[in-house]
Every structure is written in structure tokens, then in C-alpha cells.
């Protein structure tokens, strides 16, 4: 769910850019550092970005026949940690704006904030929390995906509500409207992505178990920083 070009007022655009900037700059710093230490990480990060983009070419199965696409911010958060995702997410959003006409440049700040910052951070928080409480991997991943999508959807609805408050019931009423309208597609999508996440990680655990363990995604392995483990997997 991307806010289209042009519909936020200049002030709001500026505010959301300002809100997103620290996260993106932080992420970009980390990326620059990682790449300086390991030039080959460039390729892996680019692949992650491309993969996130390309996910929108994969249709999710549905009973009804309507089509929806996974957003994949949850997967990214687990595999690459939220700061890196803030940067990668913004790149992907620029690509989506210019290659698919989804979203826009003036609304890039707002979209980055909801999709590349709020989503990954909230999803990742749920993931860590579940793991800390001793929950199973599958649950952690399910909650991560669901809440990454869910928070994105809520933040977007509020961003729109602030821009277009209801004449009678104000911002809260408008938020209710947007939440209601988008719920039709976004809640099933969030749940679907949660399920898909479990299946995906189960598949990966069978096919690429050791790599995932070294990334610290599956239990029973070292919980190293993303860059170190990326190097390890690069050698496999």
C-alpha cells in the first residue's frame, strides 16, 4: 500500500521526510561501513533489494481469485536487520515509484516511514520478543510477518488521516475510514504473509539450514551480526 504521488501537502511531505531521514541515514551508514569492510556485500545487499522488489511479481494463491503480492519487509527485517532494511526499503520504494508507478517521490518520505521503517522495526520487535519468551521459530516468524504488514497498514492509514481529516469526526474518524477500507485487502494479506513466512522458512530450513543458522534466524546457532554471517554464507 503506497501513498500516491502528489496527494500529501508540501508540509506533510517535508515532515515525513524528516521523520524517515534519521533511520535511513543510520541504515545507509551501516551499509557503507559493511561494504567498505567486505566489498562483496554490495552484491548480497543488491540481491536482497532486487529480491524484495521481485517479490511483487509473485502472486499469492487465494481462494477467491483476487490477486495480491507479498511485501516481504518482514523477511528482510529478519534476514538483514531493520537498519539495513530502512535503506534497502527506500531504494526499493524509489524503484517502485519509477518502474511501477507505485508511490511517488514527494511521498517517498511517508512511504519509507511506513514500509521500510515502521514495518520492519515492529515486525522485528515481535520476532525478538517471541524468541526471548522462548516461543517457537514458526510463531516468531509468523508474528514478525503479520505485524510488519499490519503496522505498515496502520501507519499509512494514519498518514492519510492526518492529510485528510474527516470534517465531522476529525483525524481519528478519518483513520477509522482508511483502516476500514484497506482492511479488506490488508488484513488477509498480513495473515497470508505470516503463513507464507512460516512455509518459506520451513523450506529454507530444509534446503539451506546451515546458512540460516549462521545468520541467527533459526535457533541453535551463533547469533552473529549480519555482515559477518553474510560473509560466511558467501563462501558456501
Amino acid at each position: 500500500m503506497h501513498i500516491a504521488e502528489g496527494i500529501l501537502s508540501p508540509t506533510e511531505c517535508a515532515v515525513w521526510y524528516a521523520a524517515a531521514a534519521p533511520f535511513v541515514i543510520h541504515g545507509a551508514r551501516q551499509v557503507v561501513r559493511q561494504v567498505k569492510e567486505h566489498p562483496e556485500n554490495r552484491l548480497l545487499l543488491a540481491t536482497a533489494g532486487a529480491f524484495t522488489f521481485v517479490l511483487s511479481a509473485i502472486k499469492l494463491p487465494s481462494v477467491s481469485g483476487s490477486s495480491s503480492h507479498p511485501t516481504g519487509t518482514g523477511v528482510g527485517a529478519v534476514l538483514f536487520k531493520p537498519p539495513v532494511m530502512a535503506f534497502l526499503g527506500m531504494i526499493v520504494l524509489i524503484f517502485q515509484a519509477l518502474l511501477l508507478a507505485h508511490g511517488g517521490i514527494s511521498t517517498l518520505g511517508a512511504n519509507t516511514f511506513s514500509m521500510a521503517i515502521a514495518g520492519p522495526w515492529v515486525g522485528y520487535a515481535f520476532y525478538r520478543l517471541t524468541k526471548k519468551l522462548g516461543g517457537p521459530d514458526a510463531l516468531a516468524i509468523f508474528l514478525c510477518m503479520v505485524f510488519a504488514d499490519f503496522s505498515t497498514y496502520c501507519v499509512t492509514s494514519f498518514q492519510l488521516a492526518i492529510a485528510f481529516p474527516d470534517p465531522h469526526s476529525g483525524i481519528l474518524g478519518a483513520a477509522g475510514k482508511f483502516l476500514g477500507i484497506f482492511a479488506v485487502t490488508q488484513i488477509p494479506l498480513a495473515l497470508a504473509e505470516g503463513v507464507l513466512g512460516i512455509l518459506l522458512f520451513r523450506f529454507l530450513a530444509r534446503v539451506a539450514g546451515p546458512q540460516l543458522r549462521s545468520l541467527g534466524v533459526l535457533s541453535g546457532g551463533a547469533d552473529g551480526p549480519a555482515d559477518a554471517s553474510m560473509k560466511e554464507t558467501a563462501g558456501v
Partner: protein, 267 residues
């Protein structure tokens, strides 16, 4: 629209060889005009200017533009409807045109909805000037001059190239899966459960292939002398004063023309 049709149009467009800065100025200048001027008549001027630039000067086929606009139009329609219908009890029931229960449509919400659609349409059209004439990579190369760290631009550049490689992989893997009934397994609810598993397997295997592809591309680049930056030849482009002048004229004109009609310059 396929996932690459905007990009294909951009590569084939006659404006491809124009300096990126000129196209960015025109496109983002119009976006800013659409954002800041009063919806009436600012967005109309912007929409017309953008459409003329795209269809008449950059010679993009109308079909491509229409396909590109489909997704944003759906969003604008949804957004427009949700803004148009307001909820809650109005203080003054005569001030609304229509109401049913807590839902109502009145002049305020109608103006808001019209604003949303007009701004959105004009903004998206203006952005499409850039999207339909400038391949992403040109833009990224151009951004070097703003002292964006090279490694970030290089990641973006590689992302662009890998998107196409991965799209191919996704398409073929998807097809291979369909050939073996991966999308239509037999079982309850059209094999609902297996379909989900098959989708996960597809995503997973594409992910793993993407990973190994990244490693192989890295090897390939190291072979060619890659150490720490991905330097390539700068592209030569000839600027045009006429283009710059027209850009300035169009933007300033749209802005100025708002004064007599709307009585103000800001939205």
C-alpha cells in the same frame, strides 16, 4: 502492464539522450507545482503540461501511459471515496448534501476528495515524465554529483541489474512449477494447502538462486578487476537551452496562471 513496461519505454524514448538534470527539473518542477499551487487550476495546468510532454514530445505511446496510470488510479479512487464519505454526526445537517446514518457527503468532504484526486493525478502524471523517459540507472549515475556515497549508488545500480536477472528466474521457475501442476494441485479447495507450500518453495528457491547468483556475479566482477568501486564510462549528453527555457516557462506559467483564477498562489 508488465513489470518492465515503464522501463522499456524509458530505454526506447527519444528523450533518453537528454541530460538527466533537464528531465528531473521538468518532472519534479511540475510535481512541486502540482503540490503547491491551488488544486484549481494548478493541477489542471500540470496535468495538461505533463501529458503533452509525455505523449507529444517524448513520444510515449498512449497505451503505455494508460497502463502506467492504472495502479495509481485505483489508489486515488479508493482514497477519494474514503475521503468523500465522512463519518460522524454533522453539527448542521443542512450543510451536507446526502446522509445515511452516520455516513454523509458534504461540500467540505467533496472538496477534500476532489483535491486528493486532482493533486494525485497531476503529481503522478508529472512524475511519469521522468519514469517514462529516464531509465533508473541514468538517474542513479546522475546522482553521483550530489556526493551520495558511491557504494550506495552502486548497490542501487546492481539492484537494478539484478532485478531483471531475478525476474527471468522467477518467470522460468514459476513456469516450471506450473508445468508440474504447482499452481493447480488436486485436493480440497483446489489444493489450497499445497498451493501455499508450492508458492513458498518457489520463493525460497528463487531466493537461494539469487544468493548464489550474487556470489557468482561477485566472482565475475573480481575477474574484471573489481576492487572497491564499480567505475564505468560517464555518458555524454548534450544539453539544450531551449529545453531549459521551455521548462522554466511552463512551470512559471502554470504558477502565474493560478493567480487570476484562484486568487492565490499557494494551495
Amino acid at each position: 502492464m508488465t513489470i518492465t513496461s515503464l522501463d522499456d519505454a524509458a530505454w526506447d524514448s527519444p528523450w533518453r539522450r537528454r541530460p538527466v538534470g533537464e528531465k528531473v527539473a521538468l518532472s519534479l518542477g511540475l510535481v512541486a507545482t502540482a503540490l503547491c499551487t491551488p488544486a484549481w487550476p494548478g493541477t489542471l495546468f500540470v496535468s495538461v503540461a505533463a501529458a503533452v510532454a509525455i505523449l507529444a514530445f517524448a513520444r510515449i505511446r498512449a497505451r503505455v501511459l494508460w497502463q502506467a496510470m492504472c495502479a495509481p488510479l485505483v489508489f486515488l479512487a479508493l482514497g477519494g471515496v474514503s475521503v468523500l464519505v465522512s463519518v460522524g454526526t454533522a453539527q448542521d445537517p443542512t450543510a451536507v448534501w446526502w446522509h445515511a446514518g452516520i455516513l454523509s457527503v458534504g461540500p467540505v468532504s467533496a472538496r477534500q476528495a476532489a483535491n486528493l484526486v486532482a493533486h494525485g493525478l497531476a503529481g503522478t502524471l508529472a512524475l511519469m515524465i521522468l519514469a517514462l523517459t529516464t531509465p533508473m540507472v541514468d538517474l542513479l549515475t546522475w546522482m553521483r554529483r550530489f556526493r551520495v556515497p558511491d557504494s550506495l549508488l552502486e548497490i542501487a545500480n546492481l539492484t537494478y541489474r539484478l532485478i531483471f536477472v531475478l525476474l527471468d528466474t522467477v518467470a522460468t521457475a514459476h513456469e516450471a512449477s506450473r508445468c508440474r501442476l504447482g499452481d493447480a494441485p488436486i485436493g480440497r479447495l483446489n489444493g489450497f494447502r499445497r498451493r501455499w507450500e508450492n508458492t513458498a518453495a518457489l520463493m525460497g528457491s528463487v531466493g537461494i538462486r539469487a544468493w548464489s547468483r550474487a556470489n557468482r556475479l561477485n566472482d565475475g566482477l573480481v575477474n574484471r578487476g573489481f576492487e572497491d568501486s564499480l567505475l564505468t564510462l560517464p555518458v555524454r549528453r548534450a544539453g539544450s537551452w531551449r529545453f531549459k527555457a521551455v521548462t522554466l516557462l511552463v512551470i512559471a506559467g502554470s504558477w502565474a496562471a493560478c493567480w487570476p483564477v484562484a486568487g492565490r498562489l499557494w494551495r
